[in-house]
């Protein structure tokens, strides 16, 4: 289920440690292994088990039932709630959080979120203001308040770093993850899937270009790259709209080749020395540029394809409110051509969300086509999507989406991809609802959008946590407020980009730090909601 289990800690004489997400189903692998090893040749082998984020009674009970609990010398837990992914990003990496909260009503991940927030407060001070929207948000806030009450000692004397905590349920904004992200990082994730900040790419474009051996040994292993803001160039382009990336790359290329040209002007020993001292930096910059140029080429091949264009056109039509109430031709065509089921589900769910549910006739039509083309067993998946509110019949007979779209300005016709002036650049026209809520909270406040908030699911609320007078902030003029936005149920790279854009706005006045249960995209998200079916026979 989650990740996998750890790996070898050592080889001779081997001890083995398994790091486990605390879920019963994950336990099978090491248990099988350990019992096999027990019977095997080396009786000296030691087994250790490490539960992440916590030791689970269920897993232990299961191991006991399998009769292998005794073979683990150490059974430990590593209470890892929030994992830093970047300078401004924390994730719990619990991929099933959304499913558990909204399908199974199992709120364990929320408990961990609350615990993570308590730890964060222990380190960075009590957060004076808590805002939230959604059932889960309410739940987490309640737990935080309760935990604080139960551990009065946790009142700390640290000056608060965060001014505001904003808790947002993913189901308040089901729309955003379904749309195709159009930032550079978002597209890398959509197309190749970023796993724990690493991405695996097809190797062809990364072949070393040396003269004389052209095309001889093309690498066959996928190219693996780490992506984070430590890489100067990546930090600059990751959050840009993909259409603005090309010009940055070519500008960089000119600067770097100019820098290399400098060597011809270096005459004195001193100048040469200075040039040489800059070489490592320049070479790193050059290889970084080469990598991102290759990635951009790979992505461009896809974004310029006809199908990508058609798909995007339909998405944008839905989001701007065109023809959301009838069966869409493109979706029908995709089903007929048996495009990947997840792609179909993303589009149908997007249409449903943009229409506050589909007309019964339209919904039935899609359902029948999907079941007939992909197999009747997918009725279970469709059922899950319905339960999560992603795919539903229009019950109220009223479509709220246009009102929400207009009030929150979710669709912007005049989008500037090169020099954006609004967050809608991350989806080339659509401004992510979740981030709009954060933006409006900072200015002018949620009171201005009460009506729309009522249309979105779950309660909205505000809580204050008292600070000792000595710790209350006296704001300097021009000093930014810091808001921690916690996405319960997952966040996309495009939403992160939009929040970073708001942080950088000159007159914004708010900086954002982002936390989430899991970094998601539409595909990984829908996948987490699908019923696990046996692999197809061919």
């Amino acid at each position: 289920q989650t990740g996998a289990w750890g790996g070898h800690l050592g080889s001779v004489p081997a001890a083995r440690a398994a790091a486990l997400r605390s879920r019963v189903t994950v336990c099978c692998a090491p248990a099988r292994d350990s019992s096999r090893e027990d019977r095997g040749r080396s009786p000296q082998r030691d087994f250790h088990i490490l539960f992440v984020p916590r030791r689970s009674l269920l897993c232990e009970q299961w191991l006991k039932e399998q009769g292998v609990l005794g073979s683990f010398i150490h059974r430990e837990q590593y209470s890892l709630d929030l994992i830093p992914f970047d300078g401004d990003l924390l994730s719990m990496e619990s991929e099933s959080a959304f499913k558990e909260c909204y399908l199974e009503s199992d709120q364990t991940s929320l408990y961990h979120a609350a615990k993570g927030l308590m730890t964060l407060q222990a380190l960075y001070g009590t957060i004076p203001q808590i805002f939230g929207k959604g059932e889960c948000a309410r739940h987490v806030a309640n737990m935080m308040i309760r935990m604080k009450r139960e551990f009065p000692g946790s009142q700390n004397s640290i000056f608060p770093v965060f001014d505001t905590l904003l808790l947002l349920d993913r189901n308040v904004d089901l729309l955003t993850p379904l749309a195709t992200q159009l930032t550079y990082e978002g597209l890398i994730d959509e197309i190749y899937g970023i796993q724990n900040t690493y991405v695996k790419l097809p190797p062809e474009k990364f072949a070393p270009k040396k003269q004389g051996e052209g095309g001889k040994d093309l690498p066959t292993e996928p190219k693996k790259l780490q992506l984070n803001s430590a890489e100067e160039l990546y930090a600059e382009i990751r959050d840009k709209n993909f259409n603005a990336v090309g010009s940055v790359l070519s500008k960089k290329a000119k600067i770097i080749s100019a820098a290399f040209e400098e060597r011809h002007h270096a005459k004195t020993v001193g100048e040469i020395k200075q040039f040489v001292s800059q070489l490592p930096h320049m070479q790193a910059a050059r290889s970084s540029l080469a990598n991102h140029t290759s990635i951009a080429e790979l992505i461009k091949d896809i974004t310029t394809s006809e199908d990508f264009f058609d798909n995007l056109t339909v998405e944008q039509e839905f989001m701007s409110g065109i023809d959301t109430d009838k069966v869409n031709n493109y979706i029908e065509d995709c089903i007929a051509q048996k495009h990947p089921l997840i792609k179909i589900l993303r589009l149908v769910c997007l249409q449903s969300v943009c229409n506050s549910g589909l007309k019964q006739k339209v919904l039935d039509h899609y359902k029948r086509e999907i079941l007939q083309t992909y197999g009747y067993e997918h009725i279970l998946t469709l059922n899950n999507l319905e339960k999560a509110g992603l795919l539903k019949p229009q019950t109220s007979g009223r479509n709220n989406y246009p009102t929400i779209r207009k009030t929150l300005r979710l669709w912007m016709d005049d989008v500037n991809e090169q020099n954006p002036n609004d967050i809608s650049y991350v989806y080339s026209g659509y401004a992510p609802l979740s981030v709009r809520l954060a933006q409006l909270l900072a200015r002018p406040g949620w009171r201005s959008i009460e009506e729309v908030l009522k249309m979105l699911p779950g309660p909205h609320f505000e809580e204050r946590q008292q600070l000792p007078t000595g710790l209350q902030k006296k704001r300097q003029h021009g000093e930014n407020r810091v808001t921690l936005v916690f996405f319960l149920g997952g966040v996309t790279y495009a939403e992160i980009a939009a929040l970073r854009f708001l942080s950088q706005m000159e007159d914004g006045g708010t900086e954002y730090v982002i936390a989430t249960t899991k970094l998601i995209n539409g595909t990984s998200w829908i996948k987490s909601l699908m019923e696990k079916l046996e692999p197809a026979p061919f």
Binding site: S11, V12, H74, L123
Partner: protein, 492 residues
Amino acid sequence: MSRARADEEEYWHSSKFRAFTFDDEDDELSQLKESKRAVNSLRDIVDDDDDDDLERVSWSGEPVGSISWSIKETASSSTSSLEGRDSGLQKGSSSYAAFPKQVSSYSLSSLFKGRNKLPSFQSLSDALSDTGVKNYAPELRRPKAEYKDYSSDWSPKDTVRRMQRGKVCSLERFRSLQDKLVLLDEAVAGHDGNVITAVLIFLKRTLRREILFRELEVRQVALCHLIHFLKEAGEQKLLLDLLRFLDRTEEVALSQYREHLNIQDVEKRREFLKGCIGLPFSAEDTSHIQDHYTLLERQIIIEANDRHLETAGQSEIFRKYPRKASILNMPLVTTLFYSCFYHYTEAEGTFSSPTNLKKTFKIPDKQYVLTALAARAKLRAWDDVDALFTTKNWLGYTKKKAPIGFHRVVEILQRNNAPVQVLEEYVRLVEDVETRLNLATKYKCHDVVIETYKDLKDRIQLTAYKCKVERGSAEEEKINSILNNMQIRWKN
């Protein structure tokens, strides 16, 4: 509380990591020292004489530096490793000097700057322990008894707290129903799903079903956890009993239907699906389940028949195009494709004929034509393709009609490498002029392009097109003769 504090303090003593400070004072020396210490502490638990070989791997198979130390870390809090704790404490005092200093100036940029500094990456997660209180005062070692768990007088609340910290607790002392329910309510109030489920397992084992169900009905959170657990654990029977008791009929039906995925034998699966038909699904779903059963029933008949035909080697189509896989458990549209491929000409009366499938499953025209077209095009049976779109009106005139639009027909034919002559015929039928021109240009149907420009009286485009056709070809000649035709009134 004090336990947690002791653990934590111990951590500060023995860890190779300092508390999270905002100073950027990571020089290489201290990093070296840290890694040395990390390696040394690793030896304690791993007992490995060759630590160069260590390979640390995370979920994705990534080598990381964090697992080893955290084992050491958590080893100290273990109930099952008392020795480890003792040695840890002793060692701790030696590294007493490495205390973190409290820094009070903050800035966001220094907050998470986790980038090139692995230590700070970890130190944030390290610090994610239970409470924020840090007490650095030295403390006496606790009596061993305190680490043991036979204490039997924990209150329900304390029991739940201990379980939340991952400690083993005996629940057997909660004997009366009253006690058990208090325990459950306490667990629910703690919001920790692991503990709630653990208590539920205990109740499930010690309470009669009716009583358990009755009590859960008024405890929704606990109920959800039990349902989730039963699903994960595969305790299907109890799950169904519970859902029935709760009158959640549709869930019962779906949950039961899901079972068919675990049945490998097709005959048994078919029988099982037959049993599912009567289940209380929603009206819409009922017809899908019925179809699922009928489809599998058909596939079993077709499969037996075709396997026989194939092995006998009598049928030409099976000799020429051997089957890649069995048709069992394939989706309906795939089955239709299969039957259009192997059984196209069969009379409607046979189970395997396309028309019979179309009728039985009420497959819409569009879907049917698309599938049949793809199958016949794959076999290059262009006459069949032609027949698919030919309709005769009552006067006996024939007319071409496609429920899917001829541009789609062209695309499907092109994907199946249809010859230009065939393509041309259908490109010509595309009604929209612009689409027709696009398709004709794309697939090099020169005649269609030339005629369309002629019809449009567009001399400029037609002249320009001359460079796209081969020199000296019939097409070039055709263009020239049209351009020289004085009768045409060109629009440009």
